[in-house]
Amino acid sequence: SAVISQKPSRDICQRGTSLTIQCQVDSQVTMMFWYRQQPGQSLTLIATANQGSEATYESGFVIDKFPISRPNLTFSTLTVSNMSPEDSSIYLCSVRTGMKVGEQYFGPGTRLTVT
């Protein structure tokens, strides 16, 4: 597996502002992902963060709202832009290490509350 950290662990933000969430892995990984978990709900994939190219977004998620960077094989950021209360969620990054096909390992998550 891999050791994954996220910053911040939680934040309370005002409507209309933006927050950037960082995800750091202790080893180089082939793929990194960002998921959203709305209160009491399951996880939904936002996008796949590709190293050296633009992220690949899932249906319903757009780059203007959730810009993603991945400057190297151990780090990625997700920005939640122009926030509204509907963006209040837990945001999790995950990685695929390549050790076993399909397995993803998750960071501890960032709990975001928008007021």
Binding site: L43, G102, G107
Partner: protein
Amino acid sequence: AQTVTQSQPEMSVQEAETVTLSCTYDTSESDYYLFWYKQPPSRQMILVIRQEAYKQQNATENRFSVNFQKAAKSFSLKISDSQLGDAAMYFCAYRSGEFSPGGSEKLVFGKGMKLTVNP
């Protein structure tokens, strides 16, 4: 599109007993992977067990085992000798196989089930 269904929102079990969590899924693919993840109150998602669809043998990891019924599209998780630390949300997840047309790395999750372990 693939879907994953966990029909039981909550279950409870006595410590040291056995409990089975159910999961069904819908797919037209023949090559895929199934997972069970655990999310304790700390909210860290922890991979519990993995099953490859082309393997008939059910996966086991210590006290955790699965009953994979491919024809029925059923993937249940059995927890033996339940411990207090097993209390968590459990999520069933699906991933397309690498050779599935249009397949991706995306994990499709069920809604989750809350497991309570009573001392």
